[in-house]
């Protein structure tokens, strides 16, 4: 059973975007410990902007973001780095790092000024390597890894950062179905077993329905949020895409091309 604990993120009336242009507004949702939440919506609706705003990379326009009861803006970059970790769509700048070196960088918020790893840091790194089946690849350089392996390394790095909230921007892009399912199942395990709150954007709506505890649908209007089954019952997925192209089948929880 999924243990649902205390509140980690609460977002109220959030408006996101840029000075000149509001991308999305009136976003509301709450996440508790151990929850896996997917953010879905069509291209350009603001999924990445939402993630960037939640991650503190760009300022919000309006509303409130609370992380563990405290306003996000109140965090300094060093205190935030212990509560929130990210997996971005951008590739690591240096692909000459080994998998283990890259994961070890996740421990930076906890290490001293020289970045010396303590016993506890090493244990965390080992745990992350094990959780994402990377033990044998630890000494491989990033440029030697496949897309799926590199993605696992990046998620393992976020896990090593040991934060209560992990944000991932499209962790399943460029992966085949098997590796998509693999990474999402690993995220689910991380959320449920390690009591992490995980929020990720994705285009894999059908997989998200099966694996997520909560889904946030960015539809440009009222942004429904809730349990996937409830969202299906309320027919929120039906309006996600123009119905002349694709239609949602509530029975199977999948999309069908309109004939």
């Amino acid at each position: 059973m999924v243990k649902i604990g205390k509140n980690i993120v609460s977002v109220t009336d959030l408006a996101i975007g840029y000075e000149s242009k509001t991308v999305a507004e009136r976003i509301n949702f709450e996440l508790e410990t151990g929850m896996l939440c997917g953010v879905v919506g069509i291209n350009g609706i603001g999924k990445s902007t939402l993630l960037r705003t939640l991650g503190g990379f760009q300022p919000k326009l309006d509303g409130n973001i609370k992380l563990k009861g405290q306003n996000l803006e109140k965090y300094t970059s060093s205190t935030l780095s212990k509560e929130l970790s990210v997996v971005l769509t951008e590739q690591p700048a240096s692909k000459n790092l080994t998998a283990q070196e890259l994961i070890a960088l996740g421990r930076q918020p906890y290490t001293n000024w020289l970045g010396t790893l303590t016993k506890e840091d090493k244990q965390q790194i080992q745990a992350s390597l094990d959780a994402f089946l990377l033990d044998k690849l630890r000494n491989n350089k990033c440029h030697e890894l496949s897309d799926g392996q590199l993605q696992r390394v990046l998620v393992a790095r976020a896990m090593a950062q040991d934060t209560s909230l992990i944000l991932l921007d499209e962790p399943t892009t460029h992966l085949d179905l098997y590796h998509k399912v693999q990474i999402l199942k690993m995220l689910q395990e991380l959320a449920h077993n390690k009591q992490k709150t995980i929020l990720f954007t994705t285009h894999e709506i059908e997989l998200a329905i099966q694996l997520c505890d909560r889904i946030l649908i960015l539809d440009g209007k009222n942004h429904p949020f809730g349990d996937p089954c409830q969202l299906i019952e309320k027919k929120h997925f039906d309006r996600l895409f123009p119905s002349e192209m694709v239609q949602f089948d509530a029975k199977t929880g999948s999309f069908k091309v309109t004939k």
Partner: protein, 343 residues
């Protein structure tokens, strides 16, 4: 990251190589001094011919130490820039930093004679030359940095660096056209590059500059490692982007600027040495890379200076030419062998 233990043997080897190249550098020169006499002089004994002692103590030793400081400092500035710009082709020369230093030096050496006009204003202290060159390189570095934030494209950045080089050389030509033969000569000799001719005071000042650069680099080790993931990741790891970027820029400006001021624009060391180092030290951990590139750079510079000295002849080749002759093929070789320059 892996501990430094794995690299103990490599470091030992490098230190030995440094010692050997230092001895080689000191024992060769325009006056032929037997190797055994060189060593015994270094050990504090008086050699057969007393003038040898003077040559070794007063000329060759400072020159060797300058080479070490110049090689180590330039290589370190190259490493810092490659990480800061996350670009394998970054280096003080390629990005126009050395051109900036040249411009600063040219303005001081030739410009003052223009501005001061007919007054006998000839005071050109070493400190002012160092400051002028440092400011020049620092300004160019800042501009490149601002451009780099807007333009993420590697090639564009390098082309901008090249353009800065052209602008500087154009301004230098204009200055040269109007300046007196004497100050023009001073500038030309400066631009050949030289690790000799430094007085003890200048050497101490250069040592201080390099020390400052190294110190700033050491306090940046953690953020340098985080920058390997990219700026967004670095920020999410708690790195204060503005502060650490500025620290690294100052370190680079001080190193490249200060060294260029005293030794002239020395090409390719900053670009090539970090890549050579990565051939042996297969890591991206700056805790290992910083001392490694410094040792490597010092060795390379000592060897280049030994070559420039043309054993047993009175003529000395411009060190800038030697480093280019050695450095450029190395870069080409690396590119051809690896197909792609890894950073």
């Amino acid at each position: 990251m892996q501990g430094t233990k794995t690299y103990r043997i490599s470091f030992l080897f490098l230190i030995l190589a440094l010692l050997c190249s230092w001895l080689l550098n000191i024992s060769s020169g325009s006056v032929s001094i037997p190797f055994t006499d060189t060593v015994s002089t270094l050990l504090g004994k008086t050699p057969e011919i007393t003038s040898w002692e003077y040559i070794i103590r007063e000329y060759r030793m400072p020159k060797a130490f300058t080479s070490i400081l110049v090689g180590a400092g330039l290589s370190l500035s190259g490493l810092l820039m490659q990480t800061l710009f996350r670009n394998p082709l970054a280096g003080p020369f390629v990005l126009g930093i050395s051109s900036g230093a040249s411009l600063g030096a040219a303005l001081l050496l030739m410009g003052t004679s223009l501005l001061a006009g007919y007054t006998s204003f000839t005071f050109l202290g070493d400190v002012s030359l160092a400051i002028a060159a440092s400011i020049g390189s620092f300004l160019v570095l800042l501009i490149v940095m601002i451009v780099a934030q807007r333009i993420k494209d590697t090639m564009a950045l390098l082309i901008i660096g090249l353009m800065f080089g052209s602008i500087t050389s154009a301004i230098v030509s204009v200055l040269a056209y109007f300046s007196s033969a004497e100050s023009l000569q001073r500038f030309i000799f400066w631009s050949f590059g030289s690790v000799g001719n430094l007085s003890m005071n200048q050497l101490i000042l250069l040592g201080g500059i390099v020390f400052l650069g190294v110190l700033l680099s050491i306090i940046s080790i953690k953020s340098l490692n985080a920058f390997l993931l990219g700026e967004n990741y670095a920020q999410s790891l708690g790195v204060s982007l503005k502060k650490s970027r500025l620290t690294i820029i100052i370190a680079t400006g001080v190193l490249a600027g200060g060294i260029t001021a005293f030794a002239g624009p020395i090409a390719f060391v900053g670009l090539a040495v970090p890549h050579l180092t990565r051939q042996i030290f297969n890591t991206m951990e700056h805790k290992v890379l910083i001392p490694a590139v410094m040792l490597y750079g010092a060795i390379l510079m000592l060897l280049c200076d030994t070559l420039a000295q043309l054993p047993n002849s009175a003529s000395v080749l411009p060190i800038n030419a030697i480093t280019s002759l050695v450095g450029a093929p190395v870069v080409i070789w690396l590119l051809v062998r690896k197909r792609k320059m890894m950073f």
